[in-house]
């Protein structure tokens, strides 16, 4: 057996890889921001007084966490099409990833809410803070600070999971890899390069979240706890 590796032939396609990597980051960024909002809403909804809202949030979280992302993407893709909504693959990818990461964020945020001592909320009530003030200053912000490491690793996982969007032909990094390998017949080199790119992207994201954590949580920075 004669194995010949030719990385330069594949590296020539660097503009394609760069475009794919940028699109992957875009996907991850949009889904992270909207998924964080959706997940926080769902976590707040789990603690609502109305049983109906609690139920809906629980069903959403459990349904998403117990089915594969690939199936969810196909359901959104064909589901929206069947009700006459023709959206681009990129939009569908963002919607599906948002719904997906929202459920995981909701679970993480719920753990954060539960970690807030009851006494602090009572103290805030005693100081006549409004319901909104209590939610924002006493519950939400400290909870985010507590679960920040778990949240960020979930968002890095989301970036990696966005590779699945190649299956509905969103032109992100994995789709680019499939295209390049079918064009150059150098599948091994292509996927090695793409794997390295994903590792770089996840390192970049982790560094970014770490820096963001330093800015967002000065108290934590002084205490020297993990970000």
């Amino acid at each position: 057996m004669n194995i010949e590796l030719d990385f330069p032939a594949v590296l020539e396609r660097w503009p394609n890889f760069l475009g794919g990597a940028i699109l992957t980051l875009e996907l991850a960024f949009l889904a992270t921001v909207s998924g964080a909002l959706l997940g926080t809403l769902a976590a707040v909804g789990r603690g609502a007084h109305s049983r109906l809202i609690t139920r809906i949030c629980k069903v959403y979280v459990e349904a998403i966490r117990n089915t594969p992302l690939l199936v969810q993407i196909f359901l959104v893709y064909f589901g929206l099409a069947s009700i006459g909504l023709k959206l681009s693959a990129f939009t569908v990818a963002v919607v599906a990833l948002t719904i997906n990461v929202g459920a995981y964020t909701a679970e993480i945020m719920r753990a954060g809410f539960e970690a807030i001592p009851r006494g602090q909320i009572e103290a805030a009530e005693g100081l006549a803070l409004s319901r909104f003030q209590i939610y924002w200053h006493i519950i939400l912000l400290p909870a985010v600070e507590k679960v920040y490491p778990a949240l960020t690793s979930q968002f890095v996982l989301l970036m990696l999971a966005s590779s699945v969007c190649s299956q509905i032909s969103a032109e992100e990094l994995t789709a680019v890899a499939n295209y390049v390998q079918s064009d150059t017949y150098r599948a091994f080199e292509t996927y090695i390069i793409v794997a390295v790119l994903y590792i770089l992207l996840s390192l970049v994201m982790r560094a970014g979240f770490w820096g963001l954590g330093l800015v967002l949580f000065p108290r934590r920075r002084r205490l020297g706890t993990a970000l």
Binding site: A63, R65, P68, L75, S82, S153, L160, V164, Y191, Y198
Partner: protein, 223 residues
Amino acid sequence: MGGHLNANHLLFLGHGALWTVGLSLIALIGGGIVGFVIALARISPLKSVRLLSAAYVQLVQGTPLLVILFLGYFGLAAIGLKMSPLAAASASLTLYVAAYLGEIWRGSIQSVPKPQWEAAEGLALSRTQRMIKVILPQAMRIATPPTVGFMVQIIKNTSLASVVGFVELMRSGQIVNNSLFEPFIVYAIIAAVYFAMCYPLSLFSQKLERRMGRGSANNLSLA
């Protein structure tokens, strides 16, 4: 074209579901064996072994499973190592699961209280004896809830094997859909079957976690 969903279609989906279970078991057993070695290597007294295993975990956890699968199926074939879809999917899932289970189990081993390690040493047990008789039995209790929870991830991740043409539940759904062209109904059924497999495991994992009351590897990242 078309026609309606009939018993044959459902039978075909059932067959696919069986392969999903089979592939999940292969990934769990293969990944469990390799993952156990990784967990031990991560706490080895030899620095080089620790570094190597840490690098393995970082590499795999920084790469999407889909890319690992493509590398195993198309990549290796391109350099002359042709594997069947089943072999490629099993190998990729094993490598992937090993990195995650290895980390979960390392966390469990390390969260066995320090005095237990010291007491075992004080009783002049050898390193191997200490591991087998004192540490691992306790670590296993700690590791059970997150491991059961991770089994849900394994089942869901086997759906990616469909992209290399392995006919498990997802792929059989795509095939049925190609003949019926009722994507919404077919994928809703597929989703329901995955849910029926995963949800009981999720509930079981939560129940175990509550029974333990504290400190599963899941909560380590929240500290």
